[in-house]
């Protein structure tokens, strides 16, 4: 059994114009020590899914079904108080999008981490301080900087502080939502390397949410590609990058310029993602898909396994695609 198992998770935002189906029947597994990358365009529901797992939803966001089990325990059924006390931060913690701005500018960074520890654990203050110093050291910050304020840190260093904070209570799973999007390439590389080293050392599981497929290729074991609230392709990074099979997955993988490969033209996928208030009938990708036919417009494809190694694809045209046709070639 996997450490984190998500099954048929549904989370809708209630709006005046109806439900926005941001997360619609999403299932995936994360094993201990494994990293799953979740990719997709903006608005595809990837951040909503992260927030659903941690129950950090706005008041109009409601979970409409499914299950999330952590180490065999169903955590979706727990009441909010128990969830806050025993799961969030202790078992699953999070590195937020734009985390550099998540730090409080008027408190010393050390105190902010101490606060995170003391909120969740009943230990003496001195012990929390000691652990904070260890945490800072672990993410590559000199513990002597305990008493400095966020403005004294550069962007990459602030991101490391936020990572230290996420590790404060020895979680099993870290959810990282676009952890390096606002950083420069070189700093991004430094921060991701630090995260990768820590993950290996502490045997952490990670769910990495990003629009950047090259980041997932570098740091994750598995990938789930989301489109309009659903997972359309899922599998090991090797399978998905070598043999992307869903038309969207194929387009997305090929749209990424590779600096180490030969120069080619830059690809793109025509069109834009649908409005989740009224997603298209049938396959949600059909308006943008060059292969779409009547079936695609009427019937929703299920995520089915192709080949081995649990590479899964949700597409009616899977037989045609497996033969390695490049459908975006003109």
């Amino acid at each position: 059994m996997a450490l984190l198992e998500v099954r048929d998770l549904k989370m809708y935002y209630k709006t005046l114009r109806g439900h926005v189906k941001a997360v619609d029947s999403v299932s995936f597994d994360i094993e201990r020590g494994e990293a799953l990358g979740i990719a997709g365009e903006s608005g595809c529901g990837k951040s909503s899914m992260a927030n659903t797992v941690l129950r950090l939803l706005p008041s109009n966001g409601k979970i409409h079904g499914g299950s999330i089990t952590l180490d065999g325990v169903e955590i979706l059924k727990l009441d909010d108080e128990t969830f806050r006390e025993s799961i969030r931060w202790k078992k699953i913690s999070m590195v937020f999008q734009g985390a550099m701005n998540a730090l409080n500018p008027v408190h010393r960074i050390g105190d902010q981490i101490v606060e995170a520890i003391l909120t969740h654990e009943d230990i003496p203050h001195a012990e929390a301080v000691e652990r904070t110093e260890q945490l800072l050291d672990m993410v590559g910050i000199n513990p002597k900087r305990f008493k400095e304020y966020p403005h004294e840190f550069s962007g990459g260093m602030k991101q490391r502080v936020v990572i230290a904070m996420a590790l404060a209570c020895n979680p099993d799973v870290i959810v990282a939502d676009e952890p390096t999007t606002a950083l420069d390439v070189m700093v991004q590389s430094q921060v991701l390397k630090a995260m990768e080293d820590l993950r290996k050392r502490l045997d952490l599981s990670m769910m990495l949410i990003t629009h950047d497929l090259s980041v997932i290729a570098q740091t994750c074991d598995k990938i789930a590609i989301m489109y309009a609230g659903k997972i359309v392709e899922y599998g090991s990074v090797i399978d998905v990058y070598e043999n992307p099979t869903h038309p969207y997955g194929m387009g997305l993988v090929k749209a990424f310029p590779n600096i180490k490969a030969e120069r080619t033209r830059v690809r793109s996928l025509p069109g834009f993602p649908p409005n989740l208030l009224a997603p298209p009938e049938g396959c949600r990708f059909h308006p943008r898909c060059p292969l779409a036919d009547r079936t695609c417009m009427e019937e929703e494809p299920r995520l089915i396994e192709i080949g081995s190694n649990s590479h899964k694809v949700a597409c009616h045209k899977v037989d045609m695609l497996e033969r390695g046709v490049d459908i975006w070639e003109q």
């Binding site: 629009h211 090797i238 834009f272």
Partner: protein, 344 residues
């Protein structure tokens, strides 16, 4: 959409006449000091955003300027267009000295030099519809008197950016368009005056990966088919590499390396360029592994390091680097580098 293969750059580079000549361009932003500090005296402080940049762009070329945030690339682009006043140096566009023009003449020059901004969500007035957004440059330049006259220009511009039929988009407002469509409108607005030269300042960094290609290929088409010259400013070496003929790499207000794209990407000579390329992730899980990058981050441009500006972070730094600033010299065919110990 008609994607064009980016080929024969090498053949194109080195030929062609120069359309833009930038010579020792400098832009400092003075720092304001408090009263007490000004009594204490000492030198005036300034953010040295662009500190002596020299390069030229050839007609019909796609020239890339690559660097991390804070390296001065955006400031440089804006100073070239006189959206910012240069502190020193010279910008010559064809035979006009841009730096010597008075404001009225600068306005006229805008017909020939245009800009596309980074954020298509912020660079458009949300209360104007597409037809009025694109007509604005025409109105400002006094090319048309009324909306009826402007119509053919607008429709042509929309067709140029492949938003057809134009009637479908004319009366839409920015919020009714997707990010990619908005950026096309921004390109159309720059194109409506039929300029010879466009500064594209991070035109795709706010867009989703899946639609970046559209805008980049649009630029490539305009460059190859219409002969529009582009200065493409970006932090993303991977996209620059795919569309640019030549690339200049900036660090702390200076160009550290420039050359034909393939030569620069395949044989980077400057340690900074090499690290920048090493930091770019490859979308290929079989090539896992972090490239060698420099430690630390870009220092404060108020007090740049002495000598070579990279020396505190440079893996090959020696004593001379701390004292003597390296000149940009030609190392290979058209490939220039500013480093005392340029890598072979």
């Amino acid at each position: 959409m008609g994607a064009v293969r980016a080929t024969d750059e090498e053949r194109r580079v080195g030929h062609g006449e120069v359309i833009l000549d930038v010579e020792n361009l400098v832009k400092y932003f003075p720092l304001r000091r408090g009263f007490a500090q000004s009594l204490k005296g000492g030198p005036d402080l300034a953010v040295k955003a662009v500190d002596g940049v020299t390069f030229n762009v050839k007609k019909g070329e796609l020239f890339g300027v690559v660097g991390e945030s804070g390296c001065g690339k955006t400031t440089m682009g804006r100073t070239i267009l006189r959206l910012l006043e240069p502190t020193d140096g010279k910008v010559v566009f064809e035979d006009t000295d841009v730096t010597a023009l008075d404001p009225e003449e600068v306005k006229k020059l805008r017909r020939r030099m245009q800009i596309i901004f980074q954020d298509p969500y912020e660079s458009m007035n949300p209360r104007l519809d597409v037809s009025r957004i694109i007509a604005e440059p025409l109105r400002i330049q006094g090319i048309v008197k009324n909306a009826v006259d402007a119509r053919p220009y607008i429709e042509k511009a929309l067709e140029d950016v492949e938003m057809t039929p134009p009637e479908e988009y004319l009366f839409r407002y920015p919020h009714e368009l997707s990010g990619g469509q908005r950026q096309r409108i921004a390109v159309a607005r720059a194109l409506v005056l039929d300029p010879e030269f466009i500064v594209a300042d991070e035109p795709v960094s706010m867009l989703d990966v899946s639609i970046r290609g559209e805008i980049l290929n649009l630029m490539l088409n305009l460059c190859r088919e219409r002969g529009v010259t582009f200065l493409y400013i970006t932090h993303d070496l991977a996209t620059a590499r795919h569309i640019c003929d030549r690339i200049a790499v900036m660090y702390l207000g200076k160009i550290v390396e420039k050359g034909p794209t393939d030569s620069l990407v395949k044989h980077p000579l400057h340690p900074y360029t090499r690290a920048l390329i090493g930091a770019v992730f490859v979308p290929d899980p079989k090539k896992k592994g972090f490239g060698k990058v420099l430690s630390g981050e870009v220092p404060n441009p108020v007090n740049p390091p002495s000598g070579c500006r990279l020396h505190p972070r440079c893996p090959v730094c020696r004593d001379i680097c701390k004292e003597v600033e390296p000149e940009l010299v030609e190392a290979e065919n058209n490939h220039m580098v500013a480093c005392h110990f340029a890598l072979g």
